[in-house]
């Protein structure tokens, strides 16, 4: 048997793919537990909701007839979009549902960018905007944060006539800083109709501040505004992969052209639909986050550790050691956090908020590693 030579990668692979690094997600719990020799694993790394999905979604999942697994879902999440339209007082064609908010990021970039175009975002934010732009062959201009928040002036200064999209993460993951209503309005006014402005509101349901802007409400005034929402965070449906975008009819009509239909499964659609009916879930989650963050802030301060994280269900902590070393040491005690080196915050870790016993365990393990390394 002859083996054919490898494909001619030099000719086949575009330069922007050659120099791109694939994102390697963490290994499954059972495998990690074996390597790290821990008996259990507390995941505080993905900003999931410790309460899980709302009661209404749990019921929808239980009610899902196994037989329906053989039937294609609604290709464009019709019922969910109708519900969203009703909820927000908009047209159902102003919504596009994706396989997680991650998927809709790609829809927008594909819809508006061509060779030579760029997007503008921050250097220390959710990385997927930057990644999708880069592996699609477009430049991602990443502007340094200012006081841990997006720097509006610097973003405007970084833009040129080839800037098609601004991505603003509000509140920001991982810093928790947010633009208030005035700042967002000012930014939208300055951009005018020259570019699309995406406001990623993946964590908006966690924010209780009165001056926090709801991008959904601003859509009628700003036809170039697009907002992202997800069911992965507040609504605890991360494993089902469902999120969406909303914008003006005209803009969404363009984005729809690049969107892969049938990418959202029926169980996810049913669970998300039910989540929108939930009554106490947001309140309960907010109460939990409030208590846990207060506790974390207090404990970290008493350890002399600097924290960042005004809003959102996560908190960044600066350690007196390398975050990747702290990761390994915490993992060997069964606690998984997210290192921030990849977000360009060396020596910071991000801890997702959990229930109090989980938070106490994290603090206990962190104290152990600080003591071990002579930092207590």
């Amino acid at each position: 048997m002859t083996t054919c030579a490898l494909p001619d990668f030099d000719r086949l692979v575009p330069p922007h793919i050659k120099c791109f690094e694939a994102y390697i997600p963490s290994k499954p719990d059972d495998v990690l537990m074996q390597y790290y020799g821990c008996a259990s694993l507390l995941r505080l790394n993905n900003n999931e909701n410790p309460l899980g999905p709302p009661e209404e979604s749990r019921q929808a999942i239980l009610d899902f007839p196994p037989n329906r697994a053989s039937v294609y879902p609604s290709g464009d999440a019709y019922h969910l979009r109708r519900k969203l339209a009703e909820r927000f007082g908009m047209d159902l064609d102003q919504f596009l549902v994706g396989n997680g908010a991650n998927e809709v990021i790609a829809f927008v970039i594909k819809a508006f960018c061509q060779e030579g175009d760029n997007i503008v975002t921050a250097d220390k934010t959710f990385a997927v905007y930057e990644w999708v732009a880069q592996f699609s062959g477009f430049e991602a201009r990443t502007v340094p944060l200012k006081d841990y928040g997006f720097d509006d002036e610097a973003m405007l200064a970084a833009a040129d006539e080839r800037t098609k999209i601004f991505f603003v993460c509000n509140p920001n993951n991982p810093t928790g800083a947010y633009w208030d209503r005035n700042k967002l309005l000012n930014f939208l006014n300055r951009v005018g109709n020259k570019s699309i402005v995406v406001v990623d509101e993946a964590y908006c349901e966690f924010v209780e501040k009165p001056d926090f802007p709801d991008a959904m409400e601003l859509l009628p005034q700003y036809p170039n505004l697009v907002t992202f929402r997800t069911f992965s965070k507040m609504f605890g449906l991360a494993s089902l992969r469902i999120g969406y975008l909303a914008g003006s009819l005209e803009v969404v009509d363009i984005i729809r052209r690049t969107c892969v239909v049938y990418s959202v499964n029926a169980l996810a659609q049913a669970a998300a639909l039910a989540a929108l009916e939930s009554k106490h879930h947001i309140e309960n989650t907010r109460a939990l986050v409030r208590e846990a963050k207060e506790y974390l802030h207090h404990e970290m301060n008493s350890l002399g550790l600097f924290t960042v994280g005004e809003e959102g269900c996560y908190l960044m902590v600066r350690l007196p050691m390398s975050d990747s070393l702290a990761y390994r040491k915490l993992m060997s005690q069964g606690v998984m956090i997210r290192t921030m080196t990849g977000f360009r915050f060396p020596n910071f870790i991000r801890v997702s908020v959990g229930e109090m016993p989980a938070m106490q365990r994290f603090v206990h393990c962190l104290k152990n590693i600080l003591r071990e390394s002579g930092h207590d």
């Binding site: 990747s324 390994r328 040491k329 020596n347």
Partner: protein, 431 residues
Amino acid sequence: MSASEVVLELAASPEFFPVARSVTENASLAMGLEKAEARRVAMATEEIFMSLCKSAPGRKLSIRCTPGGYCVITEFVFQDPGFPLEYFNMTSSVSTSNEQDMANLGLLVASRIMDGFSVERDDSGRFMLKLIKEKCYPRHTGEGASHLAPLTAFSVRKADSEEAAYAAAQAVGLYPAHALPRQFLHPRMLADRIDFGGATAAVAVGPGGEIAGIVAWDLSSSGSMVECHGPFLLTRDGNPALCEALLDFCIGDIAKLPVMGLINRRHNRDIPIHYFETVGSLPLTAGNGETFQAPAYFRQMQEDAGCNVWAHESLEEFLEKQYARLCLPRKILRPLGRALDPLSRSVLFSEFDRNAGNVTFLPVSPGRDILPNVEAHLNMANKEAIKNVFFGIDLGRPWQADFAPAVLQAGFSPRYILPYAGCGDMAFFSL
């Protein structure tokens, strides 16, 4: 082929020898080497080409000359899967009458003429014999350097080549030579590397535009590690915040690259060592005979997901201790022995850094003669008067486990593990 390189394809036959020689010499001149250096490239080409005519007569190869900014890289690339691997063992002696050994001697002679000499194998199984000839740079004396007054405020940004060369020259006057990398001792070299994209530097700048600190970094040839130099502080105070800001900038710059680790091999008092883990150290002898321990400060750039490593039992105790100390999640596996052809000969790559007086041996293929081969390589290093001899074993490749007992028996001791520096972790040994 990139726009700036010269590639020649030919067969290893004596009649083409003048072609190979004149192409490498003229390409070197065109790429910025002086006459004397270009002639040395031609001489090395001569040695290698003639030795190839002996060991692989008539086989096709290509010769690629690439500008490296501070140097010219000449590579002999063998696409041929049947290429005799023994060719790469640099273990010959002049007294031998064996044809293969005579051919290997050619490589050795070539390695003496060059600044850097190594063999690489890429993912598609191609072999590359890589020769580096540097431009000739004056060594900076550090004269005229003096500490700046402490700063009240500063900002950090990427340095252009002139700023970096200036800051490096200042550092030469303020730090001992062993704390400085070659490109700092020769600041124009650093400038050329930066202009060419082979190195990056960041500087801290005070309110009046004064350059108060520098850190520089470059990607390893495998692309999996970044080596950083510094930070070096040019102000009188110890300013940890400034040094941390420089390192933060460096880490931020490489954070999204497919890089497994950041390594720093030279200690200086201003390095914020809490950013690193000390994986170990290597005893080094400098050109002037001075000996010292060179630390290996390492910073993992990714979350460690755990992996298996392959190791011979003779190395297990060392590995277990190191992995426990560094809290690295590893499962140590013992490879099952493989039946090797009784005539199979092991092969080692030799990586020379003649300026530092270093050679590192790396296994390329297993054989029945590992111990004598390792000893022969050691002998060669002794004869060449190379002061620092290292051995690297890739724990991600099961067949390399067989090298451990021979390496230990030949007098090497394991010094440290560098996570994911090869296909898996690399274990480094020194005498």
